[in-house]
Every structure is written in structure tokens, then in C-alpha cells.
Symmetry: C2
Subunit: 347 residues, 2 copies
């Protein structure tokens, strides 16, 4: 038997890191962004559903499935803000691609690192369509695990090379600056949100508290700004003062999910928003003029994970950066699952 | 660092077979049934949701999540009836348990074999409460991958040791008889459904066609019979003539899911059914008298997979029947995911 129907390629954390490094982080983000953009452009083919969340006092565990009719994908992801206290990641994830025609998984992959990359790639894709073309400087409010990925994605796609960093914990900003040394950024560490936002063309908010925080207040938002709001991504977790939402044109991934999880959970359920996919497909206008305030209210959608898994699957062959795992029962005769079990006793 | 936060135990197909064989199939089914019954008895603690299905022309891919507040579990499972044609399983599955407190997966396991075991265990648990206590003989209509597991679960829990087998493909019945040789059954191969049902105390229907079939007609169902309807488990896939449903007392796992997927999709949405959990908890009556026709309209519910994963996790320690896989990113400093990636370049 030359078919190994039982085996599924598994990309471990170690293999994912090696894959990313072998391609180069910036090139990985650039290529991944193209997959993300391509899937947003064919938005109508996807089977879309709001993520299935299981909430607890400590956090949330979610499943995010989607399908384009030929490939099915889903991600398992948790969000536990207090995890840092005992040395765990706030967000960990893994994901699967499967063949719709027979239901067999074709890829199993870590997605903690991959989620960080796809979130940044999606933010940069949105900003490519929404930020002013002459944007040079980005403020990053919240300098945790996602911050460097955001910086590099914006550099790769938009050429942003001036960063203004702020975090309530100054050591996080230091860590971000240290990690980004050698990537060609001009980095300023700031003592306050106000200082960070000063002169920024783009503001990325990416804090992790599970609460309605007001990271960015209305008075700090000047004409022409693009706001990339990444941190608010579940009910009761927002980062922007509602006044900002009323002045900005708001762009979202999948409205039924964003109205529950995004910054716009603070607004009336019929507040007008534009789907990013409509802008990418050319059916809606992104940025109208240089004075407009644009807001990408990002919560992360299943198609972005699908794009990321699809990209990883495309890059894997020949790299050796995966293992084959024995995940699927493959009896010689498909109806003879029990016989396979019995015969295993003899081996 | 003595904690290995990145590692998750993975039970491959090979390891699952070794685990089952080391425990013994019948003892495994008996012990697993106790976990299934225990979780049905504490039904109210579970976060219950109908499975999330992605349907295509060829089949379905489903995610089945649940949580008891301390442990979260989900199963990925496909159903592709035409898979047999190219040597694949109709149903394959894998599953995960995670710690609700921090969202970290604690078990990743094959579930193709485990699903067959838990489905059979659940059927036997239901029959323990619903079939006549003097039941000795079971007819099995459909002798595919699930049939031997059903037979052994009913033997382990109810002492059923007489089987009457029928399949439209006689070689499937032969395979079933061959596999069950040595397990102490008195087995009769039958040429028709009518012949198989004759004298049976329990009838298990477990065919695989994705269509509204009438495997069992009304005239074949005598007083006192318990029907274990396993094969009808998605919209448009049923096995029983509606006349049977009107004469039987119907017991189900989770009504919102069964009304969509079970035999009762053929009935009015308000047709009275009893939840199996109510019977197990002693709040509802199962079998009233010896003449009553009882029907377990089984579609498979997430809690059963949860019970199965919980059982496997409990049995694993010390067996060696698992591998540790590098699934979770574990930077020394949780906010420094990017730094971990950078440092991997040096290794």
C-alpha cells in the first residue's frame, strides 16, 4: 500500500518558527497578506459563521470554522488575559485544513505564532486600503506579544518605518524595541498614550485587558488618522472611547461577529459599517479623503486563519518543516474498523 | 525549566488501538459506559450546543464542542458515505480536551476508533435503561464499521449474547461474524431485515446511506421491542418508517440537535420526546412495561465524546500509549512571542 491515508502533516511550534525564519518574517508577512487579501476578494464563496465561543470567568475558548467549498478549515483558540501571571500565553491556537470532498484532514498546525502573523497581515491589508498613502509613522499602544508582528507587517506592506511605542509597562516597550532592532525602524519610546499618538498617521491599539478600557480617547484622534483597533475582540473588551466611533468611518471583517465582539459593541446594532471585503473587491470605497478618520475594528475572522493555513500548506513541500502523524484510522477494508483493531493485537 | 508547557499528549490511532487492547475491548466499553452515564447524570452542568455542521454535496464536517465548566472538549468529525469507494472511512474523527481555567489543550487524540466505541457505549447505556431486562437477542441491521462495537457494548452492559445480522451486502455480515468469533456470541446471519428482526428483543439499525431510507418498517416492530436507531444522524438521513415513531416512546440525547438530525426529523417539531439524561438521573421513567416499544433515537452528542476523551485521559498515565507533541508556543516571557521566534534562528 503506497497510500498513507492515516498520516496528516503536523507543523509543530518549532517547525513553524523554522518555516517563518527560512522564508524571512517580512517576506512571510507579505506573502501571507496576499493570501489574506485574495480570500477577502472572494468573500462570497466562504461559508461564514460567527465563532463558537465557550466563555468562563477566566477567559474564552473558541472554534472558528469556515470553508470555501473545496477546503474546510478551523482554528481552536483561547483567550485568557490572566495566563501571563503563571507564565502562559494569553492566546494559544492550533488549526486544521481538511478536504471537503472526503472530510479528511490535510494539515494540522500550531497557530499561536501563525495567528500573530495573520492578525498582523490582516491589519496591514486593511491599512493598505484605508490609511493615507503618505503614512510614515505608526503609534502602537500595547507592546505585548502582537506588537512586533504588527510593526513588521505594516513595514512590509505600507513601508511604515517610524514607530511610537507605549505600554503601561515600560519594560514591554523596551522588549518591543529590542526585538525590532536590526529591522530598520526609527523607534521612539513614549511615556503616555498622548505622546505616542502625537504625529502618528496610524494608531494601532493592541492591549490585552478583558474589560471595557478607554485606551484611546476622542481628543487624541486628529483628522486623517487611521486606527487599527486589534485588542478589543470579545464582549466586554473594548479599547476606544465611543466618541471616536461616531467620528470615524468603520470597517469590519464580518459584521455579525464584530457587532458582538468588536469596538462597535458600544454602538447601536444598526450603526453603519463597511465590510473590508467590499473595499478589497472594489465594491465599496475605503478612504475617501485625507481628512477622514478610518477605523479597522478588527476582531479576527475564520477566513484569515483559513488563508494562513492555506499559505503554510503551500509553502511546506520540500521544507521538511513538518512531521507526519498517525491521526486517521485506515483499515485495509473501510468497513472493517474492528478488524483493524483486532489485527493490531498481533503486531 | 522543568515545566514543558509546549507539550500536549497525543494519542495516535496506533496508540489508541494498543490502549484498547491492553484494557480489553469489553472492559474498555464497560468502563467507558460508566463515564458516559456519569456525564449524562450531571447533564445540567454541561455547556450544550448543537454541533456546527458544514454540509457539502459529498458529506458533512462537524465540530462538536462542550464544557463542564472545568474541562472543555470538542471533536472534529466528518461523514462522507461515498468515501468507501476509494478506500476511505465514512467517518473519521479526532478530539481535544482543554483546561477551562487557562485554555491550554491537555489531550489531543484520534477519535475514529474512539467514536465507534463511545457510540456503542452510549447505545448500551440507553438500552440498559430502556430495553426489557430479559432481553437476550439483538438484531443488527447494517454490519459495517460500527456493528461489532455495538455487539460488544450490549454484551458487556446487558449480557446480550445472541446476534441476528443483516446487511444488503452479505460479505459485511460475514466480516462481522468473523470479527466476533471468540467473543462468545451465538450469531445467525439473516437474508432479510424481516428474518433478522424475528425473535429479537432489541433491534439496532446502523446503516450508512445518506438518504431517507426505510430500513425498518412498521409491521416488523412487535410489542416490547427496544429499537436502537444509530444510523440516522443528519438531515435527510433516516432509517425508520414514521409509523414506528408514532407507536414508540422516543428517547433522545439533546432534543434541539435530534430534531434536526435524528429519526424525529420526520415528526412535528413539538412531538413529545424524553431526554435520556432525565431517565438516567431518575427524573423520568424509561421503560414502563413489557409491551411498550422504546426507541433510542441516537445521533451522537458532544458530551459523549467528552466522556470518551475524559476516560482515555484517565487511563493514559503509565501506559506509554501517547506521544508528547510540541503544539503550544511557550516563550520564557509570555509577552515575548516574537523574541522566541528570533531566538529560534540561533538554534
Amino acid at each position: 500500500m503506497d497510500r498513507k491515508l492515516n498520516l496528516v502533516p503536523f507543523v509543530s511550534v518549532d517547525h513553524m518558527m523554522k518555516l517563518v525564519l527560512s522564508i524571512g518574517v517580512e517576506r512571510f508577512l507579505l506573502e501571507l497578506s496576499a493570501f489574506v487579501e485574495e480570500d477577502f476578494a472572494r468573500w462570497e464563496v466562504f461559508d461564514k459563521t460567527a465563532r463558537i465561543a465557550s466563555h468562563s470567568a477566566e477567559g474564552v475558548i473558541e472554534l472558528m470554522p469556515t470553508s470555501d467549498g473545496a477546503i474546510y478549515g478551523f482554528k481552536y483558540v483561547n483567550g485568557h488575559p490572566k495566563n501571563m501571571r503563571d507564565g502562559r500565553q494569553t492566546v494559544t491556537a492550533f488549526g486544521v485544513l481538511a478536504d471537503v470532498a472526503n472530510g479528511y484532514p490535510v494539515l494540522f498546525s500550531e497557530m499561536t505564532i501563525l495567528t500573530a502573523l495573520r492578525t498582523a497581515a490582516t491589519s496591514a491589508v486593511a491599512a493598505k486600503h484605508l490609511a493615507r498613502k503618505d503614512s510614515l509613522t505608526m503609534a502602537i499602544i500595547g507592546n505585548g506579544a502582537q506588537s512586533e508582528f504588527q510593526a513588521l507587517a505594516f513595514k512590509a506592506l505600507l513601508g511604515i518605518d517610524r514607530l511610537r511605542l507605549y505600554d503601561i509597562d515600560a519594560s514591554a516597550s523596551e522588549k518591543c524595541r529590542r526585538n525590532l532592532a536590526g529591522f530598520g525602524f526609527d523607534i521612539t519610546l513614549c511615556q503616555s498614550v498622548e505622546a505616542a499618538v502625537e504625529g502618528a498617521d496610524i494608531v494601532t491599539t493592541v492591549t490585552a485587558d478583558k474589560q471595557n478600557a478607554t485606551i484611546l480617547t476622542d481628543n487624541l484622534v486628529g483628522a486623517g488618522l487611521h486606527i487599527n483597533a486589534v485588542g478589543g475582540d470579545c464582549p466586554g473588551k473594548t479599547e476606544l472611547h465611543p466618541g471616536i466611533l461616531h467620528r470615524a468611518d468603520i470597517f469590519v471583517e464580518y459584521p455579525p461577529q464584530t457587532r458582538i465582539e468588536g469596538e462597535i459593541q458600544q454602538l447601536a446594532p444598526d450603526h453603519v459599517v463597511t465590510e473590508l471585503s467590499e473595499v478589497i473587491a472594489g465594491r465599496a470605497v475605503g478612504r475617501r479623503d485625507a481628512a477622514q478618520i478610518t477605523l479597522f475594528d478588527s476582531v479576527g475572522f475564520a477566513t484569515e486563519d483559513f488563508s494562513a493555513l492555506r499559505y503554510v500548506k503551500a509553502k511546506l513541500p520540500g521544507t521538511g518543516f513538518y512531521a507526519e502523524i498517525d491521526l486517521l484510522a485506515d483499515p485495509d477494508e473501510p468497513r472493517d474498523l474492528f478488524g483493524m483493531l483486532l489485527r493490531a493485537a498481533a503486531t
